[in-house]
Amino acid sequence: MTRVEGESGLEYLRRKLCSVYPDLCPLFSIEYADGVLLVPREALHGAAVNLKALGFERFGFVTAVDRGEYFELVCRLQSAEFGAGLFLKAEIPRDDAVSDSFTDLWPAADWHEREVYDLFGIEFTGHPDMRRILLPDDWVGHPLRKDYHDDSVIPRPDYI
């Protein structure tokens, strides 16, 4: 399969994804001129393996968003073949904040996952060195969680 004349990189990606991995096809969407693949948590690592085989050789970053009831894990992948980037997303339940590590596919994910663990408390199984990276080792809690509380934090008053 090759790129058709006049076809955008994202359209080509959608076409190739749907033909090679039909299971992933309904999970794919294009938002704000970027590909988004929202998968169930259990399928996250498998989808990453497939995307790497498809041509996403470059790992951008992995981060997380606290959506209140769940965390949204966001992994940015990029591909020279498609000339496009893709957000691989999964919802991680708050009370069971565990995900598969990407380090076996892209070693660059190592420190990114440590940062997510440090600030959001999402643990990555299979990570070679799962410990804090920014905060001191004896820090209690994960500060970017919305329900984080720390006595040293002064809440911003309404008038500012």
Binding site: L134, L135, P136, P143, D150, S152, V153, I154, P155, R156
Partner: protein, 208 residues
């Protein structure tokens, strides 16, 4: 003001030359403030202004102040930037390694009080005076190099009022050359106001 600050008016005419009378202590205090080597503790965007101050456009060197990257060499630490809780022990350690007498300038709102990171933050120290003494605070986000130069001049004025002998302080008159008003509150008794033309405020007015 130390007598040596106004040499020309203090010189007494004598046959064959001039003579000035002052105490060794006053001379030493005065000279200590003339060449404040600075430790550039630049941790955030204020460091850009700190760097700019050192280079040719603002030329900090003409005030005797230039950066040395070694705490053993310096007189004043200029904290330019946000200090996080993780950075705090390192800053304190560098301060402890500086030789006495040592001074600290807190440059910018973050170093003064935490600045925009005062509220809703878990990681920022709310001002370097939480863990070490500060002599001069410079407000701004970030302050311009002129503000930093003004801060150094204010620090010099402070240093002149302190004696090398520990625990003693002199009630000396404080007036920065080229400034209309006295910074430390007392009047200039040695030199009448209006005696010398006022220099521009930008720090270029610092004369012997």
């Amino acid at each position: 003001m130390a007598l040596v600050d106004s040499l020309t008016s203090a010189l007494e005419s004598m046959p064959g030359g001039g003579i000035i009378l002052t105490s060794m202590d006053a001379l030493a205090d005065w000279s200590r403030g003339q060449s404040l080597w600075a430790m550039p503790m630049g941790t955030a965007c204020c460091a850009m202004e700190l760097i700019a101050a050192s280079f040719s456009k603002f030329d900090f060197d003409r005030l005797g102040t230039f950066p040395r990257p070694d705490p053993r060499h310096v007189d004043v630490m200029i904290v330019a930037g946000t200090i996080t809780k993780k950075m705090q022990p390192a800053v304190r350690r560098l301060y402890d390694q500086m030789a006495e007498p040592k001074y600290v300038i807190a440059m910018g709102n973050c170093a003064v009080s935490g600045g925009i990171f005062y509220y809703d933050t878990y990681s920022v120290v709310r001002g370097v005076d939480q863990f070490m003494p500060v002599d001069v605070y410079i407000a701004g986000c970030p302050p311009r190099p002129e503000s930093l130069e003004d801060g150094v001049l204010q620090l010099r004025a402070q240093i002149r009022t302190r004696s090398m002998a520990e625990g003693r302080s002199y009630d000396r008159d404080l007036a920065l050359p080229g400034l209309e008003t006295d910074r430390a509150g007392t009047t200039d008794a040695v030199r009448p106001v209006g005696d010398t033309p006022l220099a521009p405020r930008s720090g270029a007015g610092e004369k012997l």
